[in-house]
Symmetry: C2
Subunit: 161 residues, 2 copies
């Protein structure tokens, strides 16, 4: 199950090369990613959290955003995400929302933890019940908020995603 | 535990108002969020997935990105995220990376499921082992990728986040 074609191996190596290059250039953490569909690279991304002051600017998020801009569609159905490290929960969930077909990764969340990144910790937190998390979560039911959801269902020209 | 001060109630109501306004204007799904610190609104966000072709453009992600741009920092430590609906795993993890202090929400992932959104499904998927998910995940260990992580530790001027 860890067999890649030579072309696929080159795609993963490209994600790793991006992680090295942009980390050394000071863009952010050591992470790179690319999005490929039908043998074509739709977009490349790398971590830019600290250089752009954007905590969501992970390699995978950046690659997904760029790829979607590139093709003018919010769906990346049929695409593969190659990433130098197992996606964190934010990036994994983004891959689900983007409807990618497959994810190929090199380092794991365990390796990320060793060099100081919180991926495993956030996986643990996301799996907890909202009331049991480190970040306090307060659920305040709202009739108004429920009504907006009803209005969504009643919106004839809504675009689903 | 569901008690908010009048000011906090107004912040949550504002997030709900944003969800309604921008949904009706066609920006995307019925979701709104704001980031507040020290009683000041740092940023407002709303779902723009379908209008901007960006599957990551959820209300909370947009609000976090804007708030960080506003203050010129990748940390929102000390801030509260008010959102019209319980964050999906992408947005919840983003809140962790952004180091917010608290999350207040109105609708839940169950309500979101009723109107057609995948939040609960993605929570289930994120909690699974990588090999057991609907999106196939292929782990391909790479010496090169491991080396880049070592280089991160050796980078004297690295900025941690």
């Amino acid at each position: 199950m860890t067999q890649l074609t030579p072309e696929e191996s080159r795609f993963l190596a490209r994600a790793v090369a991006l992680s090295r290059k942009h980390m050394h250039q000071g863009a952010g953490g050591p992470f790179g990613a690319i999005i490929v569909r039908d043998g074509k690279v739709l977009a490349e991304g790398w971590n830019e959290v600290t250089s752009t002051n954007d905590p969501t600017a992970h390699a995978e998020i950046n690659a997904i955003r760029k790829a979607c801009r590139q093709i003018g569609d919010f769906s990346l159905s049929g695409a593969t995400l190659y990433t130098s490290c197992e996606p964190c929960p934010m990036c994994l969930a983004a891959a689900y929302w983007a409807r990618v077909d497959r994810i190929v990764y090199a380092n794991t969340r365990i390796h990320a933890a060793v060099i100081g990144f919180d991926d495993q910790h956030i996986y643990d937190e996301v799996a907890r019940e909202p009331g049991d998390r480190e970040i306090p979560m307060l659920h305040v039911p709202s009739e108004e908020a429920r009504a907006v959801f009803e209005e969504w269902l009643g919106k004839a020209d809504r675009v689903e995603y």
